[in-house]
């Protein structure tokens, strides 16, 4: 796939990956072997019929490809861009055993983008059910859950605390990876399904989960508020001006459009030399945003080595191409100040890898006497998040010992009718995992409400009629 030249793109917010030309997509689709055992499908958290949609691309039937995608994936333009395909579908691809795997993500994005451009939307016939469903949080988990519940005929309202819907897709992921226009297009698809979005609503404080069930008439509620609460390093100098969380940097830039200051009111002063601590996807986003905001030097400070970095290989590669300097096996021990409360530099220590720890990764240990200082004027922490405390503070939800919401295997919480999923249950994870959780919760909510899931594959055989189990003839049919 064509990409913007690194030297050019490191200074603009346009999308890095330009997307497939129809000919490229056609050529790529021809590489698929259409294996009968479909290992790619088993690698997909939502089980997209991958060979099916690729075959349609190959037949030049893009609408058909879109129809197959939307049977399972609700937001192909988003997932095609942000899923870690190398660990999922593409990681299982048979072609990938010897050659580059089929670029499933890029093909998915191609179809999703085509649908947005052509204004396609697959709005199924929805048979109304008398249920009212509330969704707390409009991020990927909430969006996925909302779509499934709306398709099941429920009256769905999504609540968002920010002034715009989209959650982490809007405030977290920068435009050059996922343009806001794509998110808005996918949100519009949800609105066409009948989903209502209520922004400026802080659930828990404006009304509680309990009130939603008892006073506001919600039959079921899904909580997908994300993890949020950023971790600080807890070293001297943490509170200096010029030290901020990746969440703050990204929110200011992406959602509040600080990059267009002063036409937009939210400021984002950027340093000449920016040090980003951490090497996950959020860290990569923070580094690449800093470059685009005008930093001269951007450093990545990570206490383990390249091999252990949690970011996607593609993201690290992009950051390297754009000129980020990587300092592996380096850990900050103090932030140095200029005497006026501002950051002047960072004191680091070299690390080496010791024995494997609980996560299976080799534990980094400091090398004695290896401390050194270097100059920087902005420091961004991208070292993970803790559980957001608002739901726990305002409801009777049972939390686990880390403050995340406790659920059973069906994602049901300790409150009857309240389900939860995404980062607020698992801790920080990926967009597609959150979407998967939203859909799993939706399936449980349908069971809870007594709605039969039309997505369940029907058996065909002696005791079925038109693929429908004869013992289940008297259900309210939902045509998805």
């Amino acid at each position: 796939m064509r990409e913007q030249d690194p030297a050019v793109r490191a200074r603009n917010f346009d999308e890095v990956a330009c997307g497939y030309h129809p000919d490229d997509a056609m050529r790529e689709s021809e590489r698929c072997l259409f294996c009968p055992d479909q290992p790619c499908v088993s690698g997909c958290p939502v089980g997209i019929n991958i060979p099916g949609f690729i075959r349609k691309i190959n037949e030049k039937d893009l609408r058909g490809a879109y129809d197959i995608l939307t049977e399972t994936s609700l937001l192909p333009a988003i997932c095609g861009r942000v899923c870690p395909q190398e660990n999922q579908c593409e990681g299982q691809c048979t072609v990938g055993q010897t050659l580059e795997p089929v670029a499933i993500g890029r093909l998915e994005r191609f179809v999703g983008d085509t649908a947005i451009r052509e204004g396609w939307a697959n709005i199924p016939y929805i048979e109304p059910t008398p249920f009212k469903v509330g969704i707390v949080g409009s991020g990927p988990a909430g969006m996925a859950c909302a779509a499934d519940m709306a398709k099941a005929g429920c009256d769905v309202t999504v609540y968002e605390a920010f002034h715009q819907a989209g959650g982490v897709l809007k405030y977290g992921i920068p435009d050059f990876r996922l343009p806001n226009a794509v998110i808005d297009a996918e949100i519009n698809t949800l609105k066409k399904l009948g989903v209502k979005f209520e922004c400026n609503t802080l659930v828990g404080r404006l009304f509680t989960l309990e009130q939603m069930i008892t006073e506001m008439g919600y039959d079921a509620v899904f909580v997908g508020v994300g993890a949020g609460y950023p971790t600080m390093l807890g070293i001297p100098g943490d509170s200096l001006n010029g030290v901020l969380s990746a969440n703050e940097l990204l929110t200011r830039c992406n959602l509040m459009r600080a990059k267009e200051f002063p036409s937009f009111d939210t400021p984002q002063p950027i340093g000449k030399r920016v040090a980003v601590v951490g090497a996950g996807n959020t860290a990569m986003d923070a580094m690449r945003v800093s470059l685009r905001l005008g930093a001269e030097k951007v450093y990545c400070i990570y206490r383990r080595s390249h091999k252990e970095a949690p970011a996607r290989a593609e993201e690290i590669h992009h950051a390297e191409e754009e000129g980020v300097e990587f300092h592996w096996l380096t850990h900050p021990v103090a932030i140095l100040d200029d005497g006026h409360g501002n950051v002047m530099g960072m004191r680091c220590v070299r690390m080496e890898l010791g024995e494997p720890d609980a996560s299976g990764r080799r534990r980094p240990v400091p090398v004695p006497g290896s401390e050194f200082d270097f100059e920087c004027d902005l420091i961004v922490y991208a070292i993970g998040t803790n559980a957001n405390p608002i739901m726990g503070q305002t409801s009777g939800l049972r939390l686990n010992k880390w403050g995340y919401i406790d659920t059973d295997e069906n994602l049901a919480t300790s409150l009857a009718g309240v389900f939860a999923g995404g980062d607020i249950v698992t801790g920080a994870a990926t967009v597609i995992e959150a979407m998967g959780a939203g859909r799993r919760a939706a399936a449980s909510m349908k069971t809870y409400l007594g709605i039969r899931d039309s997505n369940r594959p029907y058996r065909t055989g002696g005791d079925t009629l038109f693929g429908i189990d004869t013992s289940e003839r008297n259900f309210a049919r939902i045509r998805a």
């Binding site: 405030y171 802080l202 404006l206 943490d238 509170s239 929110t251 509040m256 009111d265 400021p267 409360g341």
Partner: protein
């Protein structure tokens, strides 16, 4: 399009003004000590403001605003009765816990006079003896004296220049109250950080519990950005979700004040930019009017 209609406006001085905004759900949920985040328009920044009052029967919340920066000056100019804010979210933060204090001093300095009012009222309603101490720079800036008189058992007004009430800062008022009453259980102080710091220092020798309400720089107000982190004793807390009320004797005010200066330069830039644009727009409308007059 959300609708947060402004139903009442009152100007206390040439910089301080009050907005009453219709939001029945929020009026129902709001408790003393909480705050909201306001966005004036689509290009606006998110400004945290402490709730000054709420009226459950009318379904309104009240904010008192001081026009000091770009956004607040623009609000002063544009927020008229009948117009609507682009964004209003809240109530945010942990409400002030119900106090069992029997005798309390409620201190408000400058703009802090507004948010301390609902706290004083709640305390009065719970049966406490409430001593109000409210401070202003000068007589012309005094507001809500009658509201405080109605709920306080004693009210001490302080002014920096002595033009009204006690000559001196609110700390002088606190000293006076402490001298008169030896059984004060709690002091609640809301105002600029430097004022809250002095209040905490005033009460420290007497070991009187002193609660302050912090308003650091925030973006989301939901615990997500960490911009509002404050040092409380040896811990780091987020004012938006762990506060905004904290024990004044534990707050590192110097750290807070340094962090509040983070965007001074940018705030200046934004203000200049806005004033220039405003000038341009005015010039354009003048040109237009002149042209129109000519063609006639």
């Amino acid at each position: 399009m959300p609708n947060f209609e402004i139903v009442k406006r009152e100007d206390f001085s040439d910089v301080t003004f009050l907005l009453e905004i219709r939001h029945p759900l929020m009026a129902k949920a709001a408790k003393p000590g909480q705050f909201v985040i306001v966005m004036l328009n689509e290009h606006g920044e998110r400004v945290p403001l402490t709730i000054a009052d709420f009226d459950r029967s009318k379904g309104t919340v009240t904010l008192v605003i001081q026009a000091v920066g770009k956004t607040t000056k623009q609000m002063q100019q544009e927020c008229k009765v009948g117009t609507s804010l682009y964004g209003l979210v809240g109530p945010m933060g942990i409400p002030t816990p119900e106090s069992h204090a029997k005798k309390v001093v409620c201190v408000g300095g400058g703009l802090g006079v507004a948010p301390v009012y609902p706290q004083a009222r709640a305390l009065k309603e719970s049966g406490a003896y409430v001593i109000g101490v409210i401070g202003f720079r000068t007589k012309d800036l005094v507001f809500w004296e009658d509201k405080f008189r109605a709920i306080c058992d004693e009210l001490i007004i302080c002014s920096d220049d002595g033009s009204v009430g006690l000559h001196g800062r609110v700390t002088a008022g606190i000293e006076q109250a402490i001298k008169k009453h030896t059984d004060i259980d709690e002091v609640i102080a809301i105002g600029p950080p430097i004022m809250m710091k002095s209040c905490a220092e005033t009460t420290r020798p007497y070991k009187i519990k002193t609660m302050v309400s912090l308003n650091p720089i925030m973006v989301d107000g939901t615990g997500m950005c960490g911009g509002c982190r404050v040092k409380i004793g040896d811990q780091v807390k987020f004012a938006c979700v762990d506060g905004p009320d904290f024990d004044g004797h534990l707050v590192d005010f110097d750290d807070l004040m340094t962090r509040l200066r983070r965007y001074t330069k940018e705030e200046r830039m934004a203000l200049d930019h806005w004033e220039k644009e405003k000038g341009c727009r005015m010039q354009k409308s003048i040109d237009k009017a002149v042209d129109a007059a000519r063609t006639k």
